[in-house]
Symmetry: C2
Subunit: 202 residues, 2 copies
DNA sequence: GTCTATAGTAAGATAGAC
DNA sequence: GTCTATCTTACTATAGAC
């Protein structure tokens, strides 16, 4: 009972913290606000997580893993064609981003501001460059650095969500039309990526 | 003479502030640090700019204008073809981004965190949707919402710079290879955009 | 496990001297 | 125009009671 309560409270604090960090960033989020929204005292947050910095680090690591756990099994599946991988990536990632639309901008910005949090991710290079996806891209179009296609694919997926705050503020389109466009992109991005992979080899 | 000194100091403070705000964001930048780097006292910063918030607002407005002053004359030029517009956009914007690589991530993040700063930009909708570029895209491919192409074009241009901190931290590629890739993209993006504009109309 | 109370620090802002 | 000194506030963190 005490244990269950403990797990509950600790987890509640973490999830509130995740929400606030993701929305407002590290510096604009205070332990006070986290405690208040979690309906506990400031001291308790530090009791469970020792410091604001440590709490943030835990959340960053979890978010990072969440971001990459989506794509890792897809890009390293040896039994799928390039087309199947792209289709699967687009579909899974857009679903994921619709659930957590603020995650990419938050992560990218915090990584920029505090590179120390990135110690774990040096493995990223090996993960990406040795992936099955990378090899298949290289095979399909040997004339162009495959990173270009990674940039293009990731950009097509992520960029609308990074622009979302601007779109909302400027009332460029409303939220329904935005979601409508994301649905269309599930169908269109694989076609576009295929087009540019097949593009004239100059 | 006193006037020249005034202009000098005021401007120096603003440029230091711009650098710090752009690198570390609003909340992580302190007036103390701005003053220190500008080699003046805290009081002087407030003397010239009244408050941190006001200084930030001025810099945001200038940065925003700088971002759009690049593209406005290009997308609204009635005497150029779609291909010429795209070529010109890609070339100018990548040059601009190589000079100010941190600007997009900074702007996008601050807009997300403080939407109040976006009052001026409701005109953005009219600017974009009524632009000559938008009409030409619609003409070229009437089957797909032209915003898709705007997303794709902007994403292809901006996304590598938004990813730059991750790339550096993860040592995915080094800075020379990055710049090399940006140069290649000046040539490649217009080709790719043309490909997806011509894509099968499903 | 959870709270109150408080120490210690750092921030934004301004009054007043030069 | 520029600085020193200071007020006020808000933050992180922890000691100690329950």
């Amino acid at each position: 009972m005490a244990l269950a309560k403990k797990e509950d409270t600790q987890n509640k604090i973490k999830e509130i913290a995740r929400k606030l960090f993701t929305r407002f960033g590290y510096s604009s989020t205070t332990i006070r606000e986290i405690a208040k929204e979690s309906q506990v005292n400031i001291a308790l947050v530090n009791y469970y997580f020792r410091s604001k910095d440590n709490l943030f680090r835990i959340i960053m690591e979890e978010s990072f893993e969440q971001l990459f756990i989506q794509i890792d099994p897809i890009i390293n599946n040896k039994n799928t064609t390039l087309e199947e991988k792209i289709q699967s990536l687009v579909s899974n990632y857009l679903d994921f981003l619709q659930k957590f639309p603020e995650l990419p901008l938050f992560m990218l910005n915090e990584i920029k501001n505090k590179p120390k949090h990135l110690v774990i991710k040096i493995s990223l290079k090996k993960k990406v460059s040795q992936s099955s996806l990378m090899h298949q891209i290289k095979e399909r179009n040997p004339y162009i650095n495959p990173l270009h296609f990674i940039f293009n694919l990731l950009g097509m997926l992520v960029f609308p969500f990074i622009m979302k705050p601007v779109i909302s503020s400027a009332k460029l389109i409303n939220i329904d039309d935005f979601n409508q466009m994301i649905s269309e992109r599930k169908r269109l991005i694989p076609i576009w990526i295929n087009d540019i992979l097949e593009s004239k080899k100059t």
